[in-house]
């Protein structure tokens, strides 16, 4: 490959500006590791672009920064300083809920929600945020993050973590239930696909009776699925059922549980 031609082709600028296709971006990343002159050209363009954009700019409205800090940063800081006994309290009050709503934006993938300490809910949520954000592809998840925010950022939405009965430290999923619209959403964590002839099925539990909320397939971590609506629920269960689902849950094959 003629590197000089490559550098002058406009491809570097295309990649820096976020205009390149995935294949072009991959080729670019593979090449600049081999050729320092490509990195040099990329840096020169980046710095010139940055200097030009920072030189003359119009400030956004003052309230923008205030809103961001309020919705993301402040609640987390408050949460860390809460007393330990409050951590164990179920997440019901408005203040804590608001924090959870904010944190849930970060918890898009839920995925590698490992290594919790049992009694430190806030610290483990923070850990999850970091781990989760690690999984995000920043440019393609803008919509997903905002979609999740739209769903969970309402006072009417109740939220619970679904854990494996035999391993309470593994977050299998999050369940979101809107007490007004009755919509139910499932945000999958890091869960394995069942064998070919089996399928996961979600159940709401109301006064001890299971109600079928539908079957689902695991496509990827961080998958957000809208399930069937439910008027009221005390808890939710995921069971492994024959493909196509069952009329009643096979409780022996319970995969995850979460109380609302």
């Amino acid at each position: 490959m003629n590197i000089k031609e490559y550098i002058e082709s406009g491809i570097i600028e295309s990649c820096v500006l976020g205009l390149a296709t995935e294949a072009e971006q991959q080729e670019f990343e593979a090449l600049y590791i081999q050729y320092p002159e490509i990195i040099e050209a990329r840096r020169a363009f980046e710095l010139a672009l940055e200097a030009q954009l920072l030189k003359e700019a119009v400030a956004p409205a003052v309230h923008v920064k205030e809103k961001i800090l309020k919705s993301l940063t402040t609640p987390i800081t408050n949460g860390i300083h809460k007393k330990e006994k409050e951590y164990i309290t179920p997440v019901r009050s408005m203040n804590i809920w608001k924090w959870i709503a904010a944190a849930s934006i970060l918890l898009l993938a839920c995925t590698t929600w490992l290594a919790y300490s049992v009694n430190d809910k806030y610290q483990r949520l923070l850990t999850a945020n970091i781990e989760t954000a690690n999984q995000l592809n920043y440019s393609s998840h803008v919509d997903a993050i905002m979609a999740l925010k739209t769903i969970v950022d309402k006072p009417s939405v109740k939220w619970s973590t679904m854990v494996e009965p035999t391993n309470a430290s593994h977050c299998a999923a999050h369940i979101y239930w809107d007490s007004l619209s009755k919509n139910t959403f499932l945000l999958l964590g890091n869960i394995p696909k069942p064998v070919a002839n089996k399928q996961f099925q979600l159940w709401a539990v109301l006064n001890g009776h299971p109600v079928n909320l539908g079957i689902f397939d695991v496509k990827k971590e961080g998958q957000l699925i809208q399930m069937k609506n439910i008027q009221e629920a005390n808890a939710f269960t995921i069971t492994i059922e024959p493909r196509g689902g069952s009329e009643t849950p096979n409780m022996k094959a319970t995969y995850a549980l979460g109380e609302l």
């Binding site: 082709s9 406009g10 295309s14 976020g18 363009f45 923008v64 998840h141």
Partner: protein, 180 residues
């Protein structure tokens, strides 16, 4: 708050990855105007622009742990996020409706603090110096989010030709920027 950055960029990034609020303040104060300017050049409305900047910085805050300095500098990474959010916005079904509503309430659409228009700032100021055809290509590709095949269709030219011309325009853009 002191707006001077007391950190090297590496230190700032390390603190951001630890979710340090001071670092976020510094990051925002330094880069938000540049980000807002480019967002405004895409969405062409102050109110929508403010919302997009808010959305973009939330994503930046959420995903900074994933940011890899080896893949590009911090500002460029943020710029890509913000542009993507702005392009998503203008492509959303609500965009035209919001634009119409805002103009009906008589709110000012673009900043008028100076006599210059928003397109006389930053990146657009440079792209305005391109030849007309190249300017159109950058306008469609960067500011409207058209892919090369959509551009080919819009301009009634073959896709390969569109691709080549876009690249030439980008290369020329680099020359204009780096010459300054």
């Amino acid at each position: 708050m002191d707006l001077k950055i007391p950190y090297e960029e590496g230190e700032l990034i390390a603190l951001l990855k630890q979710k340090d609020q001071r670092a976020f303040n510094i990051l925002y104060d330094k880069y938000a105007p540049a980000i807002y300017t480019i967002v405004l050049q895409i969405v062409k409305n102050k109110e929508i622009g403010n919302n997009v900047v808010q959305k973009a910085f939330m994503v930046i805050w959420c995903t900074v742990v994933k940011y890899e300095p080896a893949k590009g500098n911090l500002f460029i990474w943020m710029l890509q996020i913000a542009r993507k959010a702005a392009i998503d916005e203008i492509k959303s079904p609500n965009y035209e409706k919001t634009l119409k509503q805002v103009s009906m309430t008589g709110k000012e659409v673009l900043p008028s603090l100076t006599e210059r228009g928003i397109d006389d700032f930053g990146f657009k100021k440079i792209t305005n110096n391109l030849e007309q055809e190249q300017k159109t290509l950058i306008e469609l590709h960067y500011y409207k989010g058209f892919t090369s095949d959509q551009i080919a269709e819009t301009l009634s030219i073959p896709e390969d030709t569109a691709k080549t011309r876009i690249r030439t325009a980008l290369s020329e853009l680099r020359n204009l920027l780096c010459k300054k």
